[in-house]
Symmetry: C2
Subunit: 129 residues, 2 copies
């Protein structure tokens, strides 16, 4: 029998850079809300590298305290750059050491997804509409 | 008769933040290439705020030199933040002063587009697949 994780025990963290301007978090909040509507049983939380809260550390610790045993970190970044290559692996290693019973997965930046590239291209072509 | 601009005389500039890591530009190049395939007569160029070239100034000047009279700047940013509220309007004002015969349009950040939010949400929900 294959071991499965119930939706309630797994979570997605949308991880963004953060900014000083509170309005900056609007799209991430709308992405989170869209995911919650499409997958009601799925934990979806936000976390930020800087300027905004919670940090990735705090978001992970709170999910684990709620019984989550499997976390996917989805970087809401346009591309794989220094933050994702250097900073995020260090944060994830620390999370793994704090929570050896939790499984962590790190996705590629959202901008690397073909469906996201296509949606941005479509938006770009509507610029003169 | 309504005055129209031929596709050859208008251009879209995909404007991104830029980063030290060359790989960072990959998604923007793929967005540009997708747009060129979908709209073969449409000029589509990249420009960057920092770290990468060309700058927005240079991209605009080159397009105007090629006869473009209408430019849409599409910010490939996840959200409206300080760069788009402060830096880009200053750059666009300077471009308008240099090229009074060219019409400029500034789009909202790509992350504000509902289709892009939906595509990122879909990607986020596939994180455990």
């Amino acid at each position: 029998m294959t071991q499965t994780t119930s939706p309630a025990a797994q979570a997605v963290i949308l991880f963004g850079h953060g900014a000083r301007d509170p309005e900056w978090a609007g799209p991430m909040q709308r992405i989170r809300d869209t995911m919650r509507v499409r997958a009601p049983g799925q934990h979806v939380e936000l976390a930020f590298l800087e300027f905004m809260s919670p940090t990735l550390d705090l978001a992970v610790d709170e999910l684990v305290a709620r019984g989550v045993t499997r976390i996917a970190v989805v970087p809401v970044f346009l591309a794989q750059g220094g933050h994702l290559k250097r900073d995020v692996p260090v944060l994830l290693d620390a999370a793994r050491q704090r929570h050896p019973g939790c499984e962590f997965h790190l996705s590629l930046a959202v901008g690397e997804a073909p469906g996201v590239v296509a949606a941005i291209a479509e938006y770009g072509l509507s610029a003169f509409d």
